[in-house]
């Protein structure tokens, strides 16, 4: 019977990647003053990876990790002090292990220079230390290699166990069974040691044994049987050479090749094999077909609550269908309550399902300590990273896609934000710069802040550069936030500032685009000399949106709740027609341009005059506009259906949804609408928006 463990490879890989991340983050914290748990956790992770890799025969991983483990072991038990250089090697080793395990995952051979280099470095480090590194090797195998002594002999074994032997779970009978597997065994129990009945303790062992084993096995084979009890017994093994006629050849073969799997004959081995054979093909295809399908590890409690909710849904459903069988108006009340229950069930179920996709943002954050560590080395600037709110939960897809933009922002902060130590000290700041990553919930959104205490953004330099690039008119008067937004313009980044660190092909425009494609937005705040904060606002999930339903003419539109600042009825004395047909509405200290939706989408609306019209004030990219609508309908969660997948991309529309009555409603894309309005209004609209914003500043 052979047991196929290949189905466990994906979970081993997943666990290994987690282990590597843990190793990395712990190593970054590791120094001479670290508590023992830090190094222990690194050791454990390496240990598990080595063990798993060994099981599956990923020998290069096993071998490499063995060296890593040895080094860690020396650090762990104090044979080696924890030096920064060694930690650096260990960090490199983690990279190598990741490369190797990725290669295993992708089923490719891994030949990276770095691995060879690091491996040599590791062994050198180990060698440089007076080591007993090989204590960890498996001496177990050596016992089995003595196949030379094949001549049959008779072994006399005297086995005198200590009285407490059985209390460690060892059982003489089973030891003898193991001996019997080696050859022909006769057992004689001696009762000399038995105490008087009154002195006898039922939990102690008083017997001793004299055994005779006729076998071609070696002394080591016998010793191996008694390996676990050798300190708890007196064992005398004597060999009497003699030819044995009755020793079957098969037995000696068995000894030479000791992989006897003949467990409990009573077990239903046959059915088991069938089961294994049947499950094999699917395992194979499963492990090979798509390694990157992606999986989420979900707490059992979350799954249980789901099952619970589905159960309740089923109860509600059966109640309703029973009600529908012979419905009359007298049952209306029950119908209403049933529907309410259905609403409740659906809502809870939805929340529960969404929660399954939610992961703590630490999954995205945990690569940053290493990144900042490396950046600090590369730039020669001292800096530390503070991570806050890493338990804030976020949709898995959003998390995966926000990683790269965040990396770019952190790189930027390290490269352009933080100044060199001399400059910092001269400015009266601590020599060590700080980059803070923070995540928190705000409304239905998650906010991620990347904050540095560096030099801040120099408005003049950006303006000069943007003017030179023709991105802005030299005469334009811009607010700070508009100036900062120039950072995100395509083509802003200049060759002169591209460094090894931040100039890796992705510009800030891509960062902004990625964030917007996730339905999020990014804002910049900066104080000269104090530092900058990049604030990324993201929806918690991509599949469902909290929306405000509005009516324009005969159409229903959905405005994402996240974009809405407020809704109001326009008062005529606050309306200000500046020029052309552009209307501004005075909203406290702001002048908000009014966009009539019916004009944008060319509809026939009931309400065409701004006076007394309903305005929904929305904000995107730091720009507020008032959307003129006929009526405000309900607020509800809507499931987003892609328009591009089902029809085609439409400017100003981000998607569609199906409402309760079966009709389709478009979801407004607020940044897109503002852009659209700008395009339509071109001269006057754009200049007015410009003006109005200028006034606000």
């Amino acid at each position: 019977m052979s047991i196929d463990l290949s189905q466990f490879i994906p979970s081993f890989l997943e666990e290994s990647f987690e282990g590597l991340e843990l190793m990395e983050s712990s190593l970054l914290d590791l120094n001479q003053d670290s508590d023992s748990e830090t190094i222990n956790s690194v050791f454990r992770a390496a240990h598990s990876i080595k063990g798993g890799a060994g099981t599956f025969g990923f020998n290069d991983v096993t071998e490499f990790t063995h060296h890593v483990e040895t080094l860690l072991d020396e650090m762990r038990d104090g044979r080696r002090t924890i030096e920064p250089d060694d930690v650096e090697i260990l960090l490199d080793s983690v990279d190598c292990m990741r490369l190797m395990i990725e290669a295993v995952r992708d089923d490719v051979t891994c030949e990276d220079e770095k691995i060879a280099k690091t491996s040599i470095l590791l062994q050198k480090t180990l060698g440089s230390h007076d080591d007993d590194a090989s204590t960890d090797e498996q001496p177990q195998n050596t016992a089995k290699n003595n196949e030379a002594t094949t001549s049959n002999s008779c072994w006399q074994i005297t086995f005198i166990p200590q009285h407490h032997l059985v209390q460690t779970g060892n059982d003489p009978l089973l030891l003898f069974n193991a001996l019997a597997d080696l050859g022909q065994l006769s057992v004689v129990a001696k009762v000399d040691g038995l105490p008087a009945l009154t002195d006898m303790d039922a939990e102690e062992l008083y017997l001793t044994w004299q055994l005779e084993l006729k076998s071609g096995c070696s002394e080591d084979d016998i010793k191996e049987v008694f390996e676990w009890v050798e300190d708890e017994c007196e064992l005398i093994i004597e060999q009497q050479m003699q030819e044995l006629d009755d020793s079957p050849v098969i037995e000696s073969e068995e000894v030479a090749n000791p992989s006897p799997i003949d467990i409990n004959p009573s077990l239903p081995e046959k059915s088991l094999e069938v089961e294994l054979a049947a499950s094999k093909p699917s395992e194979k295809t499963a492990s090979k077909a798509k390694p990157d399908v992606g999986s989420i590890r979900v707490g059992v409690d979350k799954v249980d609550s789901l099952i619970n909710l589905v159960g309740e849904l089923v109860i509600t459903q059966s109640m309703l269908s029973e009600l529908g069988n012979d419905f009359d108006m007298s049952k209306t009340e029950r119908l209403v309550s049933g529907l309410e229950q259905l609403l409740q069930n659906t809502k809870e179920l939805q929340e529960s399902v969404m929660r399954i996709r939610m992961l703590p943002i630490s999954f995205a954050f945990n690569r940053f300590p290493r990144l900042v560590h490396d950046l600090s080395k590369k730039t020669g600037k001292e800096m530390e990273l503070i991570i806050k709110g890493e338990q804030t939960e976020l949709d898995k897809t959003v998390m995966e896609q926000i990683g790269d933009p965040l990396v770019h922002l952190v790189r930027n902060a390290a490269d352009h934000g933080i100044e060199s130590a001399e400059v910092r000290i001269a400015a009266g700041k601590p020599a060590k710069g700080t980059i803070t990553l923070d995540a928190y919930h705000q409304g239905g959104n998650i906010v991620i802040e990347i904050c540095d205490d560096g030099a801040g953004i120099n408005r003049d330099i950006i303006l000069a550069k943007a003017t030179e690039k023709g991105l802005v008119d030299a005469k334009a008067v811009l607010t700070d936030s508009q100036v900062y937004d120039l950072l995100f313009e395509a083509g802003f980044s200049t060759a002169a500032e591209i460094t090894d660190i931040s100039g890796r092909g992705v510009g800030m425009d891509v960062v902004k685009r990625n964030i917007q494609s996730l339905g999020g937005r990014i804002q910049v705040e900066s104080v000269q000399g104090k530092g900058s904060t990049f604030k990324v606002n993201l929806p918690l999930t991509l599949a469902i949106l909290d929306g405000q339903l509005v009516k324009v003419g005969t159409e229903t539109y959905i405005i994402p709740l996240i974009a809405i600042v407020e809704s109001l009825q326009a008062k005529s004395d606050l309306i200000n027609r500046v020029s052309g047909d552009m209307v501004l509405y005075r909203l406290r200290e702001d002048n908000v341009p009014v966009l009539p939706i019916y004009q944008l989408f060319d509809l026939t609306a009931e309400c065409k005059e701004v006076d007394n019209a309903l305005l929904v004030v929305v904000e995107a990219d730091g720009q507020k506009v008032g959307l003129m609508v006929d009526d405000l309908l309900a607020q509800q969660q809507v499931v987003i259906k892609s328009l591009a997948d089902n029809y085609q991309q439409v400017d100003g529309i981000s998607g569609a949804t199906i409402l309760g009555d079966g009709s389709v409603a478009m979801i407004l894309d607020i940044p897109g609408m503002i852009a659209l309005a700008m395009k339509i209004g071109k001269e006057n609209t754009a200049s007015i928006i410009q003006e109005s914003v200028g006034e606000n500043a």
């Binding site: 063990g51 960890d136 089973l174 676990w228 409990n264 088991l272």
Partner: protein, 120 residues
């Protein structure tokens, strides 16, 4: 049916040990560290314990010591699953009350053969 308590902080190792045991007709209960193992052991009725050594919160050695204090685990075989086969490790395991040890890398056939030595 023979009931085995499998204690390992690595999901994959635990899954594999458990799978191997179930394939051979054993019943298993899994625990993710020593503390968890001790809690699950309280129910009793176990015929065998297989435990990793290196684990967070409570390691295998301590688990072994604690288990031996429980009346229902006085004679129960406890196998330590470990890569550290050095004499020191064995000594620590034995003095904590371990029955024996299994040396990683984990090999299903070897596991079953070894179990045969401690479970009737």
């Amino acid at each position: 049916m023979t009931k085995v308590l499998v204690v390992d902080d690595s999901n994959s190792i635990r899954d594999m040990v458990s799978f191997t045991l179930k394939s051979a007709g054993y019943n298993t209960v899994e625990a993710k560290d020593g503390q968890d193992g001790l809690t699950k052991a309280q129910g009793g009725g176990f015929d065998l314990v297989i435990s990793d050594v290196n684990m967070p919160i409570m390691d295998g050695i301590e688990l072994c010591q604690e288990l031996r204090k429980l009346p229902s685990f006085k004679f129960t075989p406890i196998l330590m699953l470990t890569t550290e086969s050095s004499g020191d490790m064995k000594q620590r395991g034995k003095s904590a009350g371990a029955t024996g040890w299994l040396v990683k890398p984990f090999n299903p056939e070897k596991l079953l053969a070894t179990i045969k030595r401690v479970v009737r």
